[in-house]
Every structure is written in structure tokens, then in C-alpha cells.
């Protein structure tokens, strides 16, 4: 009898164990299912991205092809018109090139394979060069550009070319959305206790609050109906945000519809990114994401 009781209690114990195992298995299956859903979602996002990239690349290519064929089929076209069409082909080719470069650039930034150079640099000097580079564009659009720079600015450690990329992007965006007459851009540099802050403000059409995060998404261009479709790639802001985040800073916009927009970014003065070697930088990026 004892033997039977013993066996019975053993069976009960086993069945308890089994129950526990089966519960653990169910939990593991649920986790796997959730992970699988997340992977599917990522895969869908990737597909969407590829489909969007394809669409965006086809657009300039459509103009290039159409105008090339028109020119090819019409050797008698008047010179002025011919020159106009050729200049469109050139511009659209440049846009296509820019897009391809930016798509590659963004994918490098996102996969963590971007190359970063590090140097101690003077943000005032970076701003001055960005302003000089865009001065022709600013003049052409009749925009008044003002600088508000403090006397003394502590140096930051960052990648000069990458910061220049951010500055050029913000300035050319500001110019693009300035009113056709009376456009005004103010670039301010401020020294905060633990960071530098750069503001690029314009008196353009502004951005509705609902779109403030949208514009940092890939290929999202806002304000199409007000300003006509911008000839951009829709990748400038997402790339700029990635770069600023890499240095431990933030990039954001303050704006209301009809009241202009101010894009601001910070660069930490004593960021770990400023000190570490490349491996250290990568770990900073992981924290940022």
C-alpha cells in the first residue's frame, strides 16, 4: 500500500512538474510569438521604406527620361527652350544623385556603420562657414540673414563635416520655406551650462504642431500645398537628427502655422562622445536609441 501511495505521490509530483514545464513552454511560445510579430513589423517597415525609396527615385528619373526623349525627338527645338529643358535634366540628375547619396548615408547612420572623425572645433567657425557656403542661395532668395553669436564659445569635440551637414541642411530648409519677399533667418548660438545650443529660425509658413515629429520621418515633406512641392529629398532632417543624436545632443523644432519655425539642436559640452574612442562612441549611440 505504501508503495502504491508513494508511486501516486510521485505521479502527482511529476504531473506538477509537467504542468509547470508546460506553463513555461506556453510563456516561451508567447514570447517567441511576440518577437516574431516584432520582426514582421520591422520587415514591413523595411518593405515600406524600400517602396518609398523606389517611388522617390522614380520621380526625378521620370523628368529626366521625358525631357531626354523630347529633346531627342525634336532637333529643331528653339535654343532657349532647349536650354530650359537641359537645365531641368541637370537639376533632376543632381536631385537623384543627392537622394541616392542620402539614402546610403542614412542607412549607414542607422546600421552604425558610419565613419566618424573627431576633432576639437569652434562652433562659431562652423556656423560662419555654413553661412558663407549658403550665402549665394540666401542672396538669390532675397533673405536677410542675422547672426547672434556670443564672444566666447567653449570648443566641442565632434565631426566637423557632419556638423556642417546639419548646419547646411537647416539653413537651406529655412531659405526654402521663407516668404518670397521679406524672408528673414536668424542663426543664434548660445552657451548653456552643459551644452551649446544652435537655433536656426525663419519667418516662413511655419509647421503645425501635429507635424512637428512627422518632419523628422524619412521622406515626409510637409507644407506641400502652401509652398508648392519642395525639391528636396525628404531625408535632410532625419539625417541631421541622427547626427546630432550621435554626439549626445537633441534636434527639435518650435513652430506654429504662419509663425515661422525655429530648428534647434544641442551639443553637450562634456559628452562622453567627446572623449571616447570610436568604440565608446558606438556605445553612446546605443544609449541614445
Amino acid at each position: 500500500v505504501l508503495g502504491i501511495l508513494d508511486e501516486a505521490s510521485q505521479v502527482i509530483a511529476y504531473s506538477h512538474q509537467l504542468e509547470q514545464k508546460s506553463r513555461a513552454l506556453e510563456a516561451a511560445t508567447a514570447e517567441l510569438r511576440a518577437a516574431n510579430e516584432r520582426l514582421k513589423e520591422l520587415d514591413r517597415l523595411k518593405d515600406d521604406f524600400i517602396s518609398t525609396v523606389t517611388h522617390e527615385l522614380r520621380t526625378p528619373l521620370t523628368s529626366i527620361r521625358a525631357f531626354s526623349e523630347i529633346l531627342h525627338g525634336d532637333p529643331e527645338m528653339p535654343t532657349a527652350r532647349r536650354a530650359e529643358f537641359i537645365s531641368i535634366i541637370v537639376k533632376e540628375s543632381e536631385r537623384l544623385t543627392r537622394m541616392i547619396n542620402q539614402v546610403l548615408d542614412l542607412s549607414k547612420l542607422e546600421s552604425g556603420n558610419a565613419e566618424w572623425h573627431s576633432a576639437e572645433l569652434d562652433m562659431k567657425e562652423v556656423i560662419a562657414e555654413a553661412v558663407a557656403t549658403t550665402s549665394q542661395l540666401v542672396r538669390e532668395r532675397g533673405v536677410a540673414l542675422e547672426l547672434e553669436l556670443p564672444q566666447q564659445v567653449p570648443p566641442v569635440r565632434a565631426d566637423r563635416d557632419r556638423l556642417m551637414q546639419v548646419m547646411l541642411n537647416l539653413i537651406s530648409n529655412a531659405v526654402k520655406f521663407c516668404p518670397h519677399q521679406g524672408g528673414r533667418i536668424v542663426i543664434a548660438l548660445r552657451v548653456l551650462p552643459d551644452a551649446l545650443q544652435v537655433d536656426v529660425g525663419d519667418n516662413g509658413v511655419g509647421i503645425a504642431a501635429a507635424d512637428h515629429e512627422l518632419i523628422f520621418e524619412k521622406f515626409r515633406q510637409v507644407g506641400d500645398t502652401l509652398t508648392g512641392k519642395p525639391q528636396g529629398t525628404g531625408l535632410g532632417l532625419p539625417i541631421s537628427r541622427r547626427i546630432v543624436q550621435h554626439f549626445g545632443g537633441r534636434l527639435w523644432v518650435d513652430s506654429a502655422l504662419g509663425e515661422g519655425a525655429t530648428f534647434s539642436f544641442t551639443l553637450p559640452l562634456d559628452a562622453p562622445a567627446g572623449r571616447g574612442d570610436d568604440a565608446g562612441w558606438r556605445s553612446v549611440e546605443v544609449v541614445q536609441q
Partner: protein
Amino acid sequence: MSKTILIADDEPNIVISLEYLLQREGYHVLVARDGQEALDTIALMPPDLVLLDVMLPRLSGFEVCQKLRADPACKGMRVLMLTAKGREVEVSKGIALGADAYVTKPFSTKDLLQKIREQLGEDAG
């Protein structure tokens, strides 16, 4: 009398190229930069054919096509959809919504003109 074609596209350079191409072929050309403008223009001056881009601001090409097909006043109007998304789903969606033909961007200008002539019943000439 020359036939009228409405170009509904928001890419300025694509509009310039299509406008030139169609005028060279002797068509009367109208232009709309978004879906709503396309409907407004059609209500004022109904064209014989609409070159309708899918990705239009305000009202998409699909929505415009649907509205046109629901409107008895636009019964004979031909709709040729243009899309930069080469996906099969896009094509079948356009056709299901009542588009008469479909052209993928970038298009061959020769093929596009050929399709337009077919739709307008001019290919015999």
C-alpha cells in the same frame, strides 16, 4: 476640334514635360496640382482624358478616380493613371476603381502617347 487632356500631377517638372509633349501632339492641355484642384477643373471644363497621378496632395488619384466614376456627368471621360509605385497592387487598385489604363513612372514618352491615342480612339488615324 482638338481633344482636351487634364494633367493632374504635383511634380512641377513632370507637368512641364507632359504639357510640352501633349501640346506638341496638338492636344488642348489643362493642369491641376492636387486632387481637389483636379475635380474643380473637371467640373468647370470636362476634359476628354485625365492623366492622373496616384500620389496627389489633398485628394489622392485613387479618390479622384472613384469620384469621377461615381459622377454620371463624367461618364465618357477616360482616366489614365500614372504611378511611381510599380507594384501590382497599385495597378489592380487603379483598374478596380475604374481607371481605363495605367502607366508606370518613369514612362517612355512614345508608349504614353500611344496609350493616350488608344484611349481617345485615335490610333486608327
